[in-house]
Every structure is written in structure tokens, then in C-alpha cells.
């Protein structure tokens, strides 16, 4: 018997129903790209609206100190979905990005066609994500994680006419499956020892197998969130997928896996301070490796992918310090950076996608003359890159400012070393952002190229995201309020 607050089901139902509806429309009525894109965008918008309603209910529950809204088979051994701040934040971010991406795909996907599989896959991927971050038991977590991953594998290999896409998708499939299998193994060990699968379920005195299980859960999800050294699938996946998919990924796949990793391990009673230390170490590794590898890339999208690893490193470090030293504001700053990064990176991928769509560019060097051909794109790309480099007053700077201002007050020399590495890294990162920007504004060698008119389907999301990046930087206030108190189930 299912019961509870039906609104909790709304995001999942909208996305799953949307996937089916869009597929059926594509199969039987019309498979015109624009129609399907609009329908998908509408479903994402409806999801976002339902997240808004749920957020109000959660806030109300917080004020009246009552239980969070849930829906599903309640009681012993039941499985249900639960709306909590953190989950809604991740869902809202992905659904918001989904709106932009599906409008963008309305033109961009002319490169790849097969519209009626693409849009349902996007919706299914986000549906898996919704289940993953909202579920209250470990087994559903695994199932939804697989749903999200399978959709993501296919999307990465969507440009199937090129070998490299297939290879990248295959690599992602192998590594991702290894990750989910480790996760499954871990949760079976936890179940074996405790007999419970529900979350939160703090294990007070874990035995050996529960410890191993917890470690497996963390490692499995760390592979999914591309934490160094399990990051190797990411540059290929981001670099070879269609740009619209890369844009969609930048705020959803690895971020939600990371969120679930932290939330589930805390829910299973993993000590906060230890987890904090692990995240700090991973953060430092991530930012250093990401930035250094980005320096030597020649493909624009691979460079952006390594920059994602680096930016996740900043967020990881901040959240790690917050957990280790009990500073909620540092955790908040980390999640704010995740949001800001999603917006900036999606903007960068979309701008890159427009260059690719009209001029077939893929190397950084080929961005030459973009300013003459596509002035608006050159400006939006620059704003994205400058924002990622953390120049005020753009989104990245607000993130950097918040993180630094929270971190330095922990009188802990490890953190200070981390801050030094962080600052050095932001400096190193200029070494690849600046040349890319310079390329955009370098005139092309041959005769002056003609200006290209960008289709409205791609121009509107790019301009919208540019405004979002500016808004995040100039007025971080409201966004910050949303990124507060995301971890935990209460």
C-alpha cells in the first residue's frame, strides 16, 4: 500500500511520464526536433515548478518541526521517496539545466538526429537522478543510480557515427558499472550485517563487514562522481558527447553522485570528521590534477572537462573542511560553487557547441576568428571562462570569496596548506582559460570570415545562461539561502 504526500512523487512522475510521452509523440505523431524539444522543456519546467512547491512544503515542515513529506510504502521494509532540502536542490539544478539544454538541442541536435530517443533519454537520466537523491533506502538508491547511469552511457555515445564517441561511452560504461557494482557489493555487506537498508540508519558499532561495506559504498559512488584517481572516464565522456549532453552533465551526473555519496555515508553513521578529511584530500588531488591536466589539452571540450574536475575539487575541499570542522557555511559555500559551476560550465559547453555547429571547431586553436564569425558567442564563452577563473563580479568569484572566507577561520594548518594549494590552483587555471579567451578574439588567418546568424534555439539559452552567471555573481544572496543546510535527512 502506498501513501503519503503525493506531491513528493510529482518530479519523478513528471519525468518518467514525460519520457514516455515524448517517445510516443516522436514515434506516432511527429518526430520534428523543435516539437520534441519544446515538450521536453515543458516537462523539465513542470518538474522545476513541482520542486518549488515541495521546497515550500519542506520549509513548512521545518518551521512546524514536523516530519518531512514522504510518499511510498511506509512502514517496515518499505521503500519511499522523501523530499529534503539537499535532494530538491540537486533536482532543481538538473531540471533548470534541463530546460536550457532541451531548448538548445532544438537546433543543435540537427547534427545527430534520432530525436525521439534523445529527449526521452534526457528525461530518464534526470528521473534516475531524482530517485537517487530522494530515495530513503539503499537498494532503490542503487536501482536509480543504474537508471541514471544507463541513460548517461547512451547519451555519451550518442554521436555513434564517430568511433571515439563509442569508445568514450564504452569506457564510461565499464568504469561506471564497476562503480555501481562496488556500490551494490557495499550495500549488500551493510545489509548482511545490520539487516536494514533504510536511510538514515546510523550504525552505532559497525563490525568489520559493515566497515568494508561502507568503504565500498563510498568508493563506488566516488567513481561515479569522478573523484581522482577514478576520474579517467570523465574527460573522454565530456569530450566526446554532443555539447548539449556535456552541458547537461556539468550540473547533474557527477554532482548528484557526489551528493549521494556524502549524504548516504553520513546517514549510515560514517564519522563526519573522517569523511571531511577524505574529502579534503580528494579535493586537493582533484583541483591539482584537473588544473595541471587542463593546461596541456588541445581539445576545447577536454580542457573544459578537466576544468570540471578541478572545480569539483574546490567544492570538495570546502565541503570537506565544513564537515571536519563543523562549519555549515563552508558546506554551503561548496554547494553554491557546485551550482555556479553548473551554470558556467553549461554556458561554456553550449558556446563551444555553437562554434562546433557552425564552424566544425573542436581544437582550442580552431576557435580563432570566433569573434568575427559569432561575436555574441565569443562574449558568452568569455564570460563563462572568466567566471570559471573566478574574476569578480561573476559567479565563480562569489564562490571563491565564500569558500575562502569560510575556510581560513579554522585554525588548522592542514586547511591553510589547502588554501595555499587552492590559490595556486586558481593561478594555474589562468594558464588555460586565458589562451582560450585569447583564441576567441584572435582574428582568423585567412580572409575575414563572414558573420554567421545564430539560430534562436541556441542563442536564447546561451543568453539566458549568461544572465544567470551574472546574477549568481552580482546577487548571490537568494541562491545562497537555497544552498543552506543541504546535508542530512532532517
Amino acid at each position: 500500500m502506498t501513501s503519503g504526500d503525493v506531491w513528493v512523487l510529482a518530479p519523478m512522475a513528471l519525468l518518467l511520464g514525460g519520457a514516455l510521452a515524448v517517445y510516443l509523440v516522436g514515434r506516432f505523431i511527429t518526430s520534428r526536433n523543435t516539437v520534441l524539444a519544446c515538450a521536453t522543456a515543458l516537462f523539465f519546467a513542470a518538474t522545476l515548478a513541482s520542486v518549488g512547491v515541495l521546497a515550500q512544503r519542506v520549509a513548512l515542515a521545518g518551521q512546524t518541526n514536523t516530519a518531512l513529506p514522504v510518499w511510498g510504502c511506509l512502514g517496515e521494509g518499505g521503500a519511499c521517496l522523501r523530499a529534503a532540502r539537499g535532494g530538491l536542490y540537486m533536482v532543481g539544478m538538473s531540471a533548470g539545466m534541463g530546460i536550457y539544454v532541451s531548448i538548445y538541442s532544438g537546433r543543435y541536435l540537427a547534427l545527430d538526429r534520432r530525436y525521439r530517443t534523445y529527449y526521452p533519454l534526457l528525461l530518464l537520466m534526470v528521473a534516475g537522478l531524482v530517485g537517487m537523491v530522494m530515495t530513503t533506502d539503499l537498494f532503490s538508491l542503487y536501482l536509480f543510480c543504474e537508471l541514471m547511469s544507463v541513460a548517461a552511457y547512451v547519451l555519451v555515445a550518442f554521436r555513434r557515427q564517430t568511433d571515439t564517441s563509442i569508445e568514450a561511452g564504452y569506457k564510461y560504461l565499464v568504469m561506471g558499472s564497476a562503480g555501481t557494482l562496488t556500490l551494490l557489493f557495499g550495500l549488500s555487506l551493510v545489509y548482511w550485517e545490520t539487516g536494514v537498508l533504510s536511510l538514515p540508519n546510523p550504525i552505532s558499532t559497525p563490525g568489520l563487514w559493515a566497515r568494508v561495506g561502507l568503504a565500498c559504498i563510498i568508493v563506488g559512488l566516488a567513481v561515479k562522481s569522478a573523484i581522482v584517481p577514478a576520474h579517467t572516464w570523465l574527460p573522454d565522456a565530456y569530450g566526446r558527447a554532443p555539447s548539449s549532453v556535456s552541458a547537461m552533465f556539468s550540473g547533474s551526473v557527477i554532482q548528484s553522485s557526489f551528493f549521494v555519496m556524502v549524504n548516504a555515508s553520513l546517514g549510515l553513521g560514517f564519522p563526519e570528521r573522517t569523511l571531511g578529511l577524505i574529502l579534503m584530500a580528494c579535493g586537493v588531488l582533484n583541483m591539482t590534477l584537473g588544473n595541471v591536466m587542463a593546461l596541456v589539452q588541445v581539445h576545447t571540450k577536454r580542457m573544459l572537462a578537466y576544468s570540471t574536475i578541478a572545480q569539483m575539487g574546490y567544492a570538495l575541499f570546502s565541503i570537506g573542511v565544513g564537515l571536519r570542522h563543523g562549519i555549515p557555511d563552508a558546506v554551503r559555500a561548496g554547494f553554491f560553487l557546485i551550482l555556479a559551476h553548473a551554470a558556467m560550465k553549461a554556458l561554456a559547453f553550449m558556446s563551444k557547441g555553437i562554434c562546433h555547429f557552425y564552424c566544425g571547431t573542436s581544437l582550442i586553436e580552431e576557435l580563432k576568428g570566433t569573434y568575427q564569425r559569432l561575436p555574441v558567442v565569443a562574449v558568452s564563452f568569455t564570460i563563462a571562462l572568466v567566471g570559471l577563473a573566478g574574476v569578480s563580479p561573476l559567479a565563480g568569484f562569489a564562490g571563491k570569496w565564500l569558500i575562502l572566507s569560510e575556510l581560513y577561520r579554522t585554525a588548522d594548518w592542514v586547511v591553510y596548506v589547502g588554501i595555499a594549494v587552492f590559490l595556486l590552483n586558481t593561478l594555474v587555471s589562468l594558464g588555460y582559460y586565458l589562451p582560450a579567451i585569447a583564441m576567441l578574439f584572435t582574428p582568423a588567418r585567412e580572409e575575414v570570415p563572414a558573420r554567421i546568424r545564430v539560430s534562436g534555439w541556441m542563442a536564447v539559452p546561451v543568453v539566458g545562461l549568461t544572465l544567470l552567471v551574472l546574477a549568481l555573481g552580482v546577487a548571490p544572496g537568494p541562491w545562497l539561502r537555497w544552498s543552506e543546510g543541504l546535508l542530512g535527512f532532517w
Binding site: P393, W401, Y408, I419, L427, L430, A438, V474, L480
Partner: protein
């Protein structure tokens, strides 16, 4: 009400005009230079209108009403510390824009060039009149972004010299390192005070002595990068050489002084002067080393633009020496030197620009005997060369006198004597430069181009300014001393 509007206009006019130029760049290809100069003139007028207000003892201040985060309140304020810097900035921007008319032949992207010059200028004026740390840092970065873009797109590549991209990146990354140190220090201050407004910070922030020392170190290093004192100067010679001439003028004459403004604004006015005492000797030593090193490098250089660029390193050494004395003479002298150095350095770069433009040569061994061919320029150059050598009745003499006097007041006689003798090297490279370029015979036959009037007029104006400032130093010294009585609570 009226002064507040003027304060906003100082910033708003250049920024709005820059946006208009960038948006309607097709319409304004020819008129862009004139429009930009008009904006700079209006901005200057707005700043001048504020001066009676300051003299009457009021400080115009505007809260912009923007609170992006709790504890952050964007606001502007003009006081005696900012005024000398603000006026220098705007005048230099105006002259650089006018100089640009002659230097820069109108092309399709010319409006963007002038728009960026205005944004660069606005970044500097914003830095000087910002009254809170977030706005200060935002404008601080704006000036970096604008100048990097200018070097990147319009920089010239001397044959065999460095590539402009590499130079722009070196400049950006190196000065960004300084900015990051400043950012960390600003964050610590912001956290300790709980608010980012300077007025809250000025009322006193309680910090542990260790933290105070860390903060002062961070500030001095961070601003030292912008000042380009030895050994933090390595970005400067390349950036100055490759930047287009109007940008070089703005970099050398105005942007370097932002580092000094930062030192005056943060370590010197936020902390009691005693807490700076341990830094006094190091600052003076670094000042002397910079002074001598810059002068030696200027003597060794063969590229005329690089000679004047290294001269900046040397001159910044004087200023750091002056600030390091921590007494009224030294600090007033240092701040005066900022203004005078701006005039003289802009003058010398303007002269170099004319030389390069007319002869299309830039190495000493290719030049010579230009005195007869370019009499007006040679006369202006003579003024600049004599001024930078510290000849009495020209402007730099006054400030150098005060800086050395401040040095002797500290009792560190050996350092002061070293610095005094170091100034001999300044005379040496200035005279060497002048004699090689303007005297003797022309070493390479070149077909001389005519010097555009738009380049000659600002040069002459600067030369007149250099003489006038030397003959009548009274008013400027008056402003600067007022700043210091506020800043240091009336020491000396």
C-alpha cells in the same frame, strides 16, 4: 545630494560611454576617439566639482544600496587619500585617449579600443573611490582584465621580441598572484570586522599581533606586485614594451600607483603606524635595491621603450623607500612622487611613442640626431629627462627632496646615502637616453614620418605640467599633506 551624484558620475560616465561605444561600434568608427575623450573630460569635471566639497571638510559618500551578501554593502567615498590618485588617474586617461588619436589609425574595432581604455580608466578611478572591500577588489580586477585585453588584441610585437600573447598572459598571471594575496588579506579583514565597509574597518579591527603581521605582509607583497618593485617587477618590462603606447602611458603613469594607493589605504590606515615599524627597514631596503636595479637595467637596455619601462621600476623604488620611512616627510614625499612620476613618466613615454612613430625604429643604435628633426619633441624630452634626474625647479626635485629628508629622519643614514647615490644612476640613464636619441648624428637613414598633432599636443601639455608642478608645488603638497593627517592621525 549634488556631490553624491558627481561621485557616481565620475565612474558612470566612462562606463556608460564605453558600453555605448562597444554596442554601436559600427556607427562610431571615426568619432570614437573624440567621444572617449569627451567622456574623460566630463569625468574629470565631475571630480573637480567635488574638490570644494572636500576643502569644506566634507567627504562625499554614496551607498549604492546594493547588498549582494550579508555584510557586504557597496559604497563609494572620496577623501583626501583618494583625491590625488583619482585626479592623476583621470588626467592620465584623458591624455592617453588623446594620444591614441595620433597613435591608433581608425579601424573597424577602434571603438572597442577606446571603450577598453575608458574601462581601464574607470577600473582605476573605481579602485580609488570604492569604500568597501568587494567593490575595491572588483574594480581592481576590472583594471587588470581591461589592460590584458588591450595588450592581447592591440599589442605590438617588436621583431625578435616576445609574443604579445605570452606577454599578456605573463602580466595577467603574475599580477593576479598579487591580487590573490590582497584578496586573502581582504577576506581576513572582512571576517574580523564582520562588514566590508572601509568606515567600519577604519574604526579599528581587533586582530592578534601575529595575524596583523601576516596581513601587512600579504598586503605589502600583493600591492608590491602591482607597484612592480624588485623582485616582483618581472611582468613590467615586457608588458610595457608590448602594450600599445596609450596603454603603456596608462600602465606606467597611473596603474603602478594603484599599488601605492593600496598600501596607503590598507596597511597604513587600517593599522596603527607602530605595527608597521618592523616593516620599515625592509621596505626601505627593497626600495633602494629597486631604485638601483631599475636604473642599472635602464642603462643596459637598448630598446627605448624598455629603458623608460625599467625607469619605472627604479622610480617605484624611491616611492617605496619614502613610504618605508613611516614619517610625514617620507610619506608625503612618496605620495607626491606618485603624482610627479605620473606626469614625467607619461611625458617620457609620449616622447618615446613619437620617436617610434616617426622613425619606426626603437633601438638606440638605430637612432640619433633626432634633436634637429623633432625640435618640439626634443624640448619636451629635455624637460622630462631633467625632471626625472631631479633638477630643481622641475617637479620631481620636490618629492625626491622630501623622500630623502624622510630617510635621514629615520636615522638610517647608510640607507639614505645609498638611496641618494642611487639617484646618480637615474641621472646617468636619463642623460644617456637623451644624448643617444637626440644628439649626435643619425645612425641609420630613415624616412621620417610627420608626428601627428594629437601625439605632440599631449606631450607638450605634460611638459608644461612638469614645469608648472615644479614651480608651484604649494597646492599639491597641501592636498597630499591633508590626506596624511587623516591617514596617520597627525604624525610628525
Amino acid at each position: 545630494m549634488w556631490p553624491d551624484i558627481c561621485l557616481v558620475l565620475v565612474l558612470a560616465i566612462p562606463i556608460v560611454v564605453a558600453v555605448v561605444l562597444a554596442v554601436f561600434r559600427r556607427v562610431f568608427v571615426r568619432a570614437a576617439g573624440a567621444i572617449a575623450a569627451g567622456a574623460a573630460v566630463l569625468s574629470l569635471c565631475a571630480a573637480i566639482v567635488l574638490m570644494p566639497e572636500l576643502s569644506a571638510g566634507r567627504s562625499p559618500a554614496v551607498a549604492l544600496g546594493v547588498r549582494p551578501m550579508p555584510g557586504v554593502d557597496l559604497s563609494l567615498r572620496l577623501d583626501w587619500v583618494s583625491l590625488p590618485f583619482l585626479l592623476t588617474e583621470i588626467v592620465v586617461t584623458l591624455l592617453a585617449v588623446v594620444y591614441g588619436w595620433g597613435y591608433h589609425r581608425p579601424r573597424a574595432n577602434t571603438p572597442l579600443f577606446y571603450a577598453l581604455l575608458l574601462v581601464f580608466g574607470a577600473g582605476m578611478s573605481g579602485t580609488t573611490i570604492a569604500d568597501d572591500t568587494v567593490l575595491f577588489y572588483t574594480f581592481w580586477e576590472l583594471m587588470l582584465v581591461a589592460s590584458v585585453a588591450l595588450i592581447l588584441v592591440w599589442g605590438d610585437e617588436p621583431p625578435g621580441g616576445p609574443r604579445r600573447q605570452a606577454v599578456a598572459f605573463k602580466y595577467a598571471i603574475f599580477t593576479h598572484l598579487g591580487s590573490l594575496m590582497v584578496l586573502v588579506a581582504l577576506l581576513i579583514l572582512h571576517d574580523a570586522a564582520g562588514h566590508d565597509s572601509f568606515s567600519v574597518l577604519r574604526q579599528g579591527v581587533t586582530l592578534s599581533p601575529g595575524l596583523t603581521t601576516t596581513l601587512i605582509t600579504l598586503f605589502l607583497l600583493g600591492f608590491g606586485v602591482k607597484m612592480a618593485v624588485f623582485p616582483l617587477h618581472i611582468w613590467l618590462p615586457d608588458a610595457h614594451t608590448v602594450a600599445p603606447m596609450p596603454v603603456t602611458i596608462m600602465l606606467a603613469a597611473a596603474m603602478l600607483s594603484m599599488g601605492i594607493y593600496g598600501i596607503l589605504r590598507f596597511p597604513m590606515s587600517m593599522f596603527p603606524i607602530e605595527s608597521l615599524a618592523p616593516f620599515s627597514a625592509p621596505m626601505m631596503v627593497v626600495g633602494v635595491i629597486s631604485e638601483i636595479y631599475g636604473a642599472l637595467m635602464a642603462l643596459a637596455e637598448r630598446d627605448v621603450k624598455r629603458i623608460i619601462a625599467y625607469s619605472s621600476v627604479s622610480q617605484m623604488g624611491y616611492i617605496l623607500f619614502g613610504l618605508g620611512t613611516l614619517n610625514a616627510d617620507g610619506i608625503v614625499g612618496g605620495t607626491l612622487h606618485v603624482i610627479y612620476h605620473a606626469i614625467v613618466k607619461a611625458l617620457l613615454f609620449a616622447v618615446v611613442g613619437i620617436i617610434i612613430h616617426t622613425t619606426r625604429r626603437r633601438r638606440l643604435e638605430q637612432l640619433g640626431g633626432l634633436g634637429r628633426l623633432l625640435p618640439v619633441t626634443a624640448a619636451c624630452a629635455a624637460v622630462g629627462i631633467l625632471a626625472i634626474s631631479g633638477v630643481p625647479l622641475l617637479c620631481v626635485f620636490v618629492s625626491e627632496w622630501m623622500i630623502f629628508a624622510g630617510g635621514f629622519h629615520t636615522g638610517r643614514v647608510a640607507l639614505s646615502i645609498a638611496s641618494l647615490f642611487g639617484s646618480l644612476l637615474t641621472v646617468a640613464y636619463a642623460l644617456w637616453f637623451g644624448s643617444q636619441v637626440f644628439l649626435g648624428i643619425q645612425r641609420e637613414e630613415v624616412e621620417m614620418l610627420r608626428a601627428p598633432r594629437a601625439m605632440v599636443v599631449p606631450t607638450v601639455v605634460l611638459a608644461v605640467l612638469a614645469i608648472a608642478a615644479g614651480l608651484f608645488p604649494g597646492p599639491v603638497i597641501g592636498w597630499v599633506s591633508k590626506e596624511l593627517s587623516i591617514l596617520l592621525g597627525g604624525i610628525g
